[in-house]
């Protein structure tokens, strides 16, 4: 599983927002993964120094292209690794990959006895949650999903078309976006930018009575704040799965 490093090649890369890039890697010998898992990427400098970072798998595994994995990297200004992956790493170049990693923060059809799913994303924390939405679509599954996505401003939003816009094609997946620092022009509701509130979470999430499976992912501060709110709203702590990406920025 997560033991060995494999040498992967970047086969495709596209801008995912003004500050993020989706990388498609070909990983020889890759044997599949589940939605919510991540990989470790290892970068090597020419003096042999290495740095390792975790990145969530954004795509569900496709048996027709079994060695392809996709990650979406958000540039953390001044970061050691992410600016390189977003700005410099070029198609055709190689990188070491280990994984898939993680077995708790995963969803597959039928999980929790088919319980409804509540996905709560902060910033790039949306990546593994979108993998779950894609897995549901790939499997033609009908589990009711709700996603609340907290993101700074329009230029930073990931997968917006797919989740809420013209490319949306998932019946039974309701997505609600919370803009924390700047709203898109011409938005119908007049909500000023600001953090997700308890009230909004109650309104756009599932009630605790429905006993949903809850996945929370994002910067540490976001995960902490949202987890506290979920408990206040009566969700069972054991139904909440969280993944922390690192320090808070929002």
């Amino acid at each position: 599983m997560a033991s060995g490093w494999r040498v992967a090649t970047l086969v495709d890369a596209t801008g995912a927002s003004t500050s993020a890039r989706t990388l498609v890697l070909d990983v020889p010998g890759w044997a599949g993964h589940r939605a919510g898992q991540h990989v470790d990427l290892r970068l090597t400098a020419d003096d042999g120094y290495t740095a390792v970072r975790a990145y969530s798998l954004g795509s569900s595994w496709d048996p027709a292209a079994p060695t392809r994995v996709e990650v979406t990297v958000q540039r953390v200004p001044g970061g050691e690794v992410s600016p390189y992956l977003v700005d410099d790493f070029a198609v055709g170049q190689r990188i070491e990959v280990r994984g898939p990693v993680g077995g708790w923060f995963v969803w597959e059809p039928g999980a929790g006895g088919g319980a409804p799913v509540l996905l709560l994303a902060g910033g790039s924390g949306v990546v593994p949650l979108v993998a779950m939405v894609r897995e549901r679509r790939r499997a033609d599954d009908r589990t009711p999903f709700r996603l609340v996505y907290s993101v700074r401003m329009p230029g930073d939003a990931l997968f917006l078309d797919e989740l809420t816009g013209v490319r949306r094609r998932d019946d039974g997946v309701d997505a609600h976006v919370v803009w924390t620092r700047g709203v898109p022009p011409g938005l119908a509701d007049d909500r000023p930018p600001g953090r997700l509130t308890l009230r909004e979470l109650a309104r756009h999430g599932w009630p605790a009575d429905l006993a949903p499976l809850v996945y929370v992912c994002g910067p540490t501060g976001f995960v902490e704040a949202v987890s506290r709110m979920l408990l206040v709203l009566g969700h069972d702590a054991s139904a909440i799965r969280a993944e922390r990406f690192g320090p808070s920025t929002t």
């Binding site: 040498v7 003004t18 500050s19 970068l43 090597t44 400098a45 020419d46 003096d47 042999g48 120094y49 290495t50 740095a51 540039r75 953390v76 200004p77 001044g78 050691e80 390189y84 410099d88 790493f89 170049q93 190689r94 990188i95 070491e96 401003m153 329009p154 230029g155 620092r181 700047g182 709203v183 898109p184 000023p192 930018p193 320090p247 920025t249």
Partner: protein
């Protein structure tokens, strides 16, 4: 050194953090133990009772803090390395100030760029993203003492992950703007971003 040829090289061009065993300087920098002063003009002296900081968004809405307001906000004590484009770097400098995350928390804006203006007329530009994420401060104390005017007191911007000219002394206003507007040195051909680790000294680097 790696024995692999370029064709086999992993992540070509990746440099990584400074190594603990001493290779800690960005390219082209030397280690300085003093604290040189480089300023484009005379040093302004701004008494704290006449000091204010204003943030102005792209719709010309403003948010202003007096000195007392600034002191009442949560304070950080960052210890950071400084890199000046004039090639000195100084390690482990100790500051006290207010994080831009705190100052910008309630500011309504979707602008991507900031133009910082100062008492004395100095300006500099940088992306808003670089002001956020616990990486930028309005600093008023250096080494446990009020910041000396020649180093930017009463308060200066501190953005240590960029070359020091971005850490504008005597900060007065931060304008959040849709289109990047070049500041003082930038108009003279210095880099719009100024990452010391990528040696972005001049436009085009």
């Amino acid at each position: 050194m790696s024995t692999d040829g370029p064709a086999d090289q992993l992540t070509p061009g990746f440099r990584g953090r400074p190594r603990p065993d001493g290779v800690a300087l960005p390219p082209g920098q030397y280690l300085e133990r003093g604290f040189p002063v480089l300023t484009a003009g005379p040093t302004p002296h701004v008494p704290t009772d006449r000091w204010a900081l204003t943030v102005c968004n792209e719709d010309r809405e403003t948010w202003t803090w007096s000195w007392a307001d600034l002191m009442a906000l949560p304070q950080d004590e960052p210890t950071v390395d400084l890199h000046c484009v004039t090639r000195w770097s100084k390690f482990g400098t100790r500051w006290r100030g207010v994080s831009l995350d705190v100052l910008l928390a309630d500011v309504r804006s979707s602008a991507q760029y900031a133009l910082v203006t100062c008492y004395g007329g100095y300006t500099t530009n940088l992306p808003v993203a670089d002001l956020l994420g616990g990486r930028a401060w309005v600093a008023h104390t250096y080494d446990d003492r009020p910041l000396h005017p020649e180093h930017g007191g009463p308060a200066r911007l501190l953005v240590p992950h960029l070359y020091l000219w971005k850490s504008a002394k005597w900060v007065k206003e931060i304008h959040l703007v849709r289109d990047e507007t070049r500041g003082f040195w930038e108009r003279y051909g210095y880099h719009d971003y100024g990452d010391p680790w990528r040696e972005q000294r001049y436009q085009g680097d």
